[in-house]
């Protein structure tokens, strides 16, 4: 890994946060994507959904804030904001499937240049299940994959995913610590690159061929 893991996750979370717009309804997957909530620009108001049945989710609950009946989709105790509300799982996934979620941010085991995503099963090895991920990737208006660029040094971004898919051709944007890649009909366009790496470096860690636009920019992560 070119960038230390903790720093890498911070870069990813900060850059994802810049994709969010005022008033959007956003679902953050468990793990790395939850860090995004820490970096929302102060001048915008984003509403977080938790697919177990809440909008207006706040931070992790501490001490007296804990209500054992209010958890996030990872089972952790969280707070709910004044504008928040609760509902059953049918409405929660109606919100998701019906296109009412503006942005979903998820991790990935693999993602490819067609926008395919694999993040729910490694046959014969790990079968956690898809939870709400398939509905989220299928239903959200914009799908952002937020992940470390590589796994133990091996690429996670492919011409074609090898693992069973979570959804077909639904990913819009891939954000890693090394760059920002947009899924287009022509393939993956590297719109932004981390100022500390070279194009050759990022391509060498990516199995898919990256398209380099003339106006490629440095990732803004401050």
């Amino acid at each position: 890994m070119i960038i230390e893991e903790g720093k890498a996750k911070e870069i990813i979370a900060k850059r994802v946060a810049k994709e969010l717009k005022d008033g959007q309804l956003v679902n953050l997957g468990i793990g790395l994507p939850t860090l995004v909530a820490n970096y929302i620009p102060k001048d915008i108001n984003v509403i977080f959904q938790s697919e177990n049945g809440m909008v207006g989710m706040g931070n992790l609950a501490r001490g007296e804030e804990v209500d054992t009946n209010v958890t996030n989709a990872g089972g952790q105790y969280v707070t709910v904001l004044p504008e928040g509300s609760f509902f059953d799982s049918c409405m929660s996934f109606g919100i998701i499937r019906g296109g009412h979620v503006d942005v979903t941010v998820l991790g990935a085991l693999e993602v490819d240049e067609k926008g395919n995503l694999a993040n729910w099963i490694i046959p014969g090895k790990l079968v956690p299940g898809m939870g709400g991920a398939m509905d989220l990737v299928t239903g959200a208006k914009k799908v952002i994959v937020a992940m470390l660029h590589t796994s133990k040094g091996r690429p996670k971004i492919f011409t074609r995913c090898n693992l069973p898919l979570t959804a077909k051709e639904k990913v819009d944007l891939i954000i890693t610590e090394l760059g920002v890649m947009k899924v287009t009909e022509d393939g993956l366009v590297l719109n932004e690159i981390n100022k500390d790496v070279t194009i050759d470096q990022i391509q060498s860690l990516t199995q898919a061929k990256l398209i380099i636009p003339d106006d490629i920019k440095f990732m803004e992560v401050e």
Partner: protein, 217 residues
């Protein structure tokens, strides 16, 4: 019509080979006292329908660990290592279903619909062997309804008629499974007299509920 029962009266409803739906999301909103009862009675060969298999020591996860389940239909089993272990040993049958599809299939069972049509799962393993229907040039999966012999619901405040309120995200699958089983038992945090709940707070009307038992708070 007073539907309050002692835990002992629920005991005789339980039978081997039942299909049982249980509310809860990673254990939040699961009727633990009713799970205790199933363990105590050592009911076997259960087909379990739930969002997930919770943790080894919580909610329906305890039924998995205690080898009482022959098949589970859920969206996620990753937080309970025992589920994967029993599945790999071939003694537990696991059907994984996307969460939004799973809850909508249960609703279809309870609401008399023939199935649901969703784009979730198209182009994935989930679509294998299932009928696809083209509507307005888009492809949808036909997913079939789910029903159960017994639904175990966790309610917050419940009245004697079986009107149920829920609290926070403990609501999750509970109001939906309450529509889709032959026998519906609600474990209440608090039981009150008929008329004592603000009607606009009632999420599950008592007409869906057969029995109410007092649980922990």
């Amino acid at each position: 019509m007073n539907k309050i029962r002692s835990i002992d009266e629920i005991r005789k409803i339980l039978k081997d080979d039942m299909t049982i739906m249980v509310g809860g999301f990673l254990g939040c909103g699961t009727p633990e006292k009713l799970i205790d009862l199933i363990i105590e009675e050592n009911i076997k060969n259960i087909t379990l329908i739930a969002n997930d298999t919770s943790f080894i020591d919580k909610g329906v996860g305890r039924l998995i660990v205690n080898n009482q389940v022959k098949k589970v239909i859920a969206s996620h089993i990753g937080t309970n290592p025992c589920t994967g272990k029993l599945m790999n040993e071939g003694v537990l049958d696991v059907e994984l279903c996307p969460q939004g599809t799973l809850i909508e299939r249960i609703r279809a069972g309870g609401y008399g619909l023939g199935g649901i049509l969703t784009q979730t799962g198209i182009g994935t393993k989930v679509a294998q062997g299932k009928e696809k229907i083209i509507i307005d040039e888009k492809e949808y999966l036909l997913e079939l309804p789910l029903k159960a012999d017994l639904a175990l619901v966790k309610g917050h405040i419940v009245d004697e008629f079986g009107n149920v309120t829920y609290k926070g995200t403990a609501r999750n699958f509970n109001p939906i499974i309450a529509t889709a089983a032959d026998i519906v038992v609600v474990e209440a945090e608090k039981i009150v007299k008929v008329g004592d709940i603000d009607k606009e707070l009632i999420v599950t009307p008592g007409v869906f509920v057969d029995y109410v038992v007092k649980g922990g708070e």
